[in-house]
Each structure stands twice: as C-alpha cells, then as structure tokens.
C-alpha cells in the first residue's frame, strides 16, 4: 500500500518537474517594460486628445472634455478590436493594454464579437458584459456606498 503511494508521489514529482521544463519562462522585466510602455503611451494619447479638444474648442467645460476624450478612446479601441489590431497590441502590452479605459472597451467588444455566432440576444447582448460586468457592478455598488458615506458621515462635519 505504502509502495503504491510512494510510486504515485514519485510520478507526481517527475510530472511537476516536466511541467516546469515545458512552461515557457516569460521574462518578467520584458513583460513589465512592455506594459509600462503601452500603458504610458495610451495615457499620453488620452492626454493629447484632451489637450487638443480644450485648445480647439475653448467653450467646452472640463467635464465635457473628459467625457469626449473617453468617448474617443473607447471608440478607437473598439474599432481596433473589430479590425483585429487590438489583439496585436494586447499580445505585447499585457496589463498596459487592459488597465486603461481602452482595455475596458476592448473587453466589451471582443466578448460581444466572440459570441456573435450564438445570436444577437443571447450571444452578443448577453455576453457583452462577461468581462466588464464585474467592473460595472462593483463600480456602481462601491460608488453608491461612497456617496452614502460621504452624505451621512462626512456630511455631518
């Protein structure tokens, strides 16, 4: 009996060693550098869109500039997703391609495109939120809480 468990143990160890040799070693520094570059670049593009908007249409309020900037970023990211460009960026960019708002848009568009074959209602419309759903749900729940805390607790001071 103990022989058998020993053999199993040895086999598992051998297997784990084998898995370690086969798993590709991703270079940490390279991955970090790539996400840094892609993320930083995305933010610079966002800043530039905002600056150009504020400069060319001075009547826009700051909030409206921010709104239009995010609409442009989101639209471009989704178009890139549709054309297949975003995948190329995402393969290199890691976190740099999903943490900015463009990654949020890409997650929506890629999910909805992927499930197009299941129909527009139960495919596209339902699966649109598979990845961004948690973000929206948590965002609404926690921001509501922040609003209530601010009103009831901080508002007293």
């Amino acid at each position: 009996m103990s022989d058998k468990t020993n053999a199993v143990k040895q086999r598992n160890e051998r297997y784990n060693k084998y898995v370690n040799t086969v798993t590709p070693k991703t270079s940490m520094t390279k991955a970090l550098l790539h996400s840094f570059l892609i993320g930083g670049l995305t933010c610079i593009i966002g800043q530039a869109i905002g600056d150009i908007l504020a400069y060319s249409v001075p009547s826009l309020s700051k909030d409206m500039v921010a709104n239009i900037t995010s609409m442009i970023l989101v639209t471009v990211a989704i178009l890139f997703t549709g054309l297949g460009f975003y995948d190329v960026i995402a393969r290199q960019g890691g976190a740099g391609s999903f943490l900015p708002i463009t990654g949020f848009a890409n997650a929506m568009a890629s999910a909805s495109m992927e499930f197009k074959t299941e129909g527009l209602i139960f495919g596209t419309s339902a699966k649109l939120f598979t990845i961004v759903g948690p973000v929206i749900v948590n965002g609404i729940v926690w921001s509501t809480l922040a609003g209530l805390i601010n009103l009831w607790i901080l508002g007293m001071y």
């Binding site: 940490m28 933010c43 921010a66 989101v74 943490l99 568009a109 929206i136 965002g139 509501t144 922040a146």
Partner: protein
C-alpha cells in the same frame, strides 16, 4: 518657451504614472495569479476609495491622464458622480450619480461594440 517645457513635463509625468500603474498591474498578474478581471476591479475600487477620501483631485492635478485613463479614473469618476448627486438630490442621488457621470463613455462603448459586432466578424487565429 517655458510653456513648452511645462507641457513636456506634464506629458512625461502622464507617461510615467500611467506606465507605472500598468506595470504594477502586470506584477500582480505574474506574481499572484489574479485574473485580469479581478485586477480591474481592485484598481477600480482603489479609484473609488481615492475619490471617496478626497485624495483623487490632487493626484489628478499632478498626474492628469496618467491616473484618469487607467480604470482608476473610471472608479473615481463613478464615486465623484455618486457623491455629487447625493449632495444635490439627497441619498437617492447616490444610486444614480455614478452612472450619470460615466454614461458618456459606457454608452459609447456599448453602442460601438454592438455596431462593430454587426459590421465585423471575429478573426480566426
């Protein structure tokens, strides 16, 4: 001339802060095996918390798009909307404010995703 330099400075900060946030998220992926969706939620809640305690505005003044383009900015925007609406409409406003303030981006994302899905077919890899 000083204007140009201050602009270059701003863009350098935007690049550095935005890049650093993404690098931090990458470290979390590699080291902790958290899924991207969880990391998005963590950064989102961080943004809500920053706005909730009133720190976000001063960070935004210094870092501009470096903090607002990552999902942290989306969280802060949600919280800012909820807080402002709560102060204007009373406690009921807290439930609507976040959505109202972020509706431009979210609405655009949903409509554009739908249109793009109708127009393009997914690329087979």
């Amino acid at each position: 001339m000083s204007n140009v330099w201050s602009m270059i400075g701003t863009y350098a900060i935007v690049f550095a802060v935005g890049g650093a946030l993404c690098a931090l998220a990458e470290i979390l992926i590699v080291r902790t095996k958290l899924t991207p969706a969880r990391i998005l939620v963590i950064f989102l809640i961080a943004g809500i918390a920053l706005e909730g305690v009133g720190l976000y505005d001063s960070i935004f003044k210094a870092c501009q798009a470096g903090i607002s383009v990552p999902i942290v900015g989306f969280g802060a925007s949600l919280a800012k909307g909820a807080i402002e609406a709560a102060r204007t409409y009373g406690f009921l406003g807290a439930f609507a404010g976040g959505l109202i303030r972020t509706a431009f981006g979210v609405g655009a994302a949903i409509v554009m995703s739908y249109i793009v899905t109708l127009t393009f077919s997914p690329k087979t890899k």
